[in-house]
Amino acid sequence: MTPLFSIKSGGPASWTIRVACALVLAYVLLWIPTSGSNSLIDTATTALTLMGAALALNLLHGFTGQISLGHSAFFGIGTYTTAVFVTRWGWSPLTTLPVAFAVAFVVGAAVSLPALRIKGVYLALVTLALAVVFPQFIKWPKIAWLTGGARGLTDTGFKFDKDNRTFELFGWNPWGNLRGENVKPFYYWIAVMIVVIVYLICRGLVKSRVGRSLIAIRDNSTAAAVMGVNLPVTKGLVFGLSAAMCALPGCLTAMKGTVTPDTALLTAIGSITFLIVMVVGGAGTLWGPIIGAIVFQFITEKTGDWADPKEIPSALRPIFSWSDVAPAGGIFALALIVLMFTAPHGLAGLWKRVTVRFVSVVPKPAGSSTVDERNVNDKP
């Protein structure tokens, strides 16, 4: 079926659409902290946190075809790096971001060393075990002097001045006086910054020679090796980079003030959450995790108190009222299964499938290979 329109990539029409999208995006990003309610800012900040982690996971999973269930541990490494540096050595939270990046990169690359020998589902097993071990490791009495053990750490975030609560960024104070609710937009902007950094790294990689070699590894690692891709080095670096990027949104969690090892996102539940966000949005697409995080957070919050039947909108009450807990977990679990049958590239893939009937972009932009039947080619 030939599409109705054909747009030349890099031509005027393509640029008009791009500029329009960028403007809408910028407007929404600015609207949320300036005109949105406090709860909306909180929601957006959480969604952005998930976005960052899912984008990081997507580079590894969606583009390189390596399975990881251990990203909650890398997220947690970010959280605890910030928390420890701020509380023990009095660093400013923002300056801990590069440190967390570096620490998680080293740990991620170290984990990937066995990953080079372990393939497919075994890697999933090892990383899942890593995710389960991480909170236990934090609680370990031997290192409790550093991590605060099971009780966690407090005052891990920004120290706003007690009286006028100003915050200076290199001698510049763009935020005005931060007090009470006024702190929320501040966290929001840090989250935006982190997501932008992570997105740009992913995009830069995927659209480059490196990205093409990653996709080659995913689709057929033997062929990739034959074409001159250095498998061990590439896989190791990508694993490290993905871990490092996943640590950044983790840092934000610590910046809000307190950390405990039992925070859901730091346990294996976090890994599964990131995976859900990525798959629902669309693994192997740049925009997938972004869409996924928004949808995930929106539905989770909307249905958050549906354990109580009175809170459910009357039209949906017969469907959900029997459940003793909020339905979000079940909805997304079902979505995961159904999507694998109907749309393996998630919502972003569905969107592409629909738009391609009307508009085609020629030539295809780099990094948008749509291999529908994707294989984790390394059989275990």
Binding site: V121, V133, I272, V325, P327, L334
Partner: protein, 308 residues
């Protein structure tokens, strides 16, 4: 000596639960090459069902057999309705689907039975504690070399030993077992000689889930209650056990399960400062990592030649 003996038996009785879940993992892996991440949660669902049977006044001996039946049905239906169609798409899809099942079953348990641990007189449970298959009153122990060994522990170990023998008989001396081994060795050829591979795979998943159900009930009995997080770490230990034993060796899974139970209990007991209760799971992780690095096929697994 008493302490050693006690830890030995405790390790073995915990290990027998890991052995049961690991057996399920191995049976499915042999048949289809898939790693069932929902194995633990399937067992947990059946365990909740057994709790429900107990609430209705069915004695535990009958309830556990019925629970295994429910587990078998759950496993078989999962294979036929979900896993088989999706495995035609890609192994990646199967992985995501088993994660989805993991989440779905755990949510379903919470949705039906609530989030709190059961039995719980606060929410109207008639039972005081999760029924144990074996006498488990504080007075039910035997003294061997001065160590007080719980009858429950001995019973659990004996149960797993008997089950292992039964399974080996089934695998090696029945037509179903023969068919399962044929499918495991070469699915295509098995189909060509007239084995109904579909039914065999369905039976494998069902069998795995039924064995898992038994494991869940045993573990809930030791634990005296069932809760949503019950099988979470058990699954990690079980996968470490399957890795240690070799993912395609049922005997290896049983030995691996006992070994993991033993190793982590000894480590936690003799190095309380270094390992203790916190890092028990860390020990299992290290074992898993070590095996995969130095002997990826496990102790008893067959190393396969990969064709590129």
């Amino acid at each position: 000596m008493e302490l050693f003996l006690q830890r030995l038996v405790d390790g073995f009785s915990e290990g027998s639960v890991y052995a049961l879940i690991a057996l399920g993992l191995v049976i499915i892996y042999r048949g289809t090459g898939h790693l069932n991440f929902a194995q633990g949660e399937m067992a947990l669902f059946s365990t909740y069902v057994v709790y429900q049977f107990g609430e209705w006044g069915i004695p535990i001996g009958i309830a556990v057999i019925m629970g295994m039946g429910v587990g078998f049905a759950l496993g078989a239906v999962t294979e036929v309705a979900i896993v088989r169609p999706v495995s035609k798409k890609s192994p990646f899809a199967v992985f995501i689907v088993t994660i989805g099942l993991f989440q779905l079953l755990n949510w379903l348990d919470g949705a039906i039975w609530g989030g709190q641990q059961l039995p719980n007189t606060g929410v109207g449970s008639k039972q005081v504690r999760f029924p144990s298959l074996f006498p488990s009153k504080p007075t039910d122990f035997v003294t061997i070399f001065g160590a007080n060994i719980k009858i429950q522990s001995l019973g659990v170990i004996a149960l797993v030993a008997v089950l292992t023998v039964v399974l080996f008989t089934v695998f090696n001396h029945t037509r179903l077992g023969l068919a399962m081994r044929a499918v495991a060795a070469n699915g295509e050829s098995a189909k060509l000689v007239g084995i109904r591979t579909g039914r065999v795979l369905m039976a494998s998943w069902g069998l795995a889930a039924a064995i898992g159900a038994l494991g869940g009930v045993v573990f809930a009995g030791i634990n005296t209650n069932v809760n949503l997080g019950l099988m979470f770490t058990v699954f990690i230990y079980a996968s470490a056990a399957a890795t240690l034993g070799g993912f395609d060796s049922p005997g290896g899974a049983v030995i691996g399960g006992f070994s993991i139970g033993l190793i982590q209990n000894m480590a936690a007991g003799y190095a309380p400062k270094w390992v203790g209760q916190e890092m028990k799971v860390g020990v299992a992780f290290l074992v898993m990592l070590g095996v995969l690095l130095f002997r990826p096929s496990g102790l008893f697994g067959s190393s396969r030649v990969e064709r590129v």
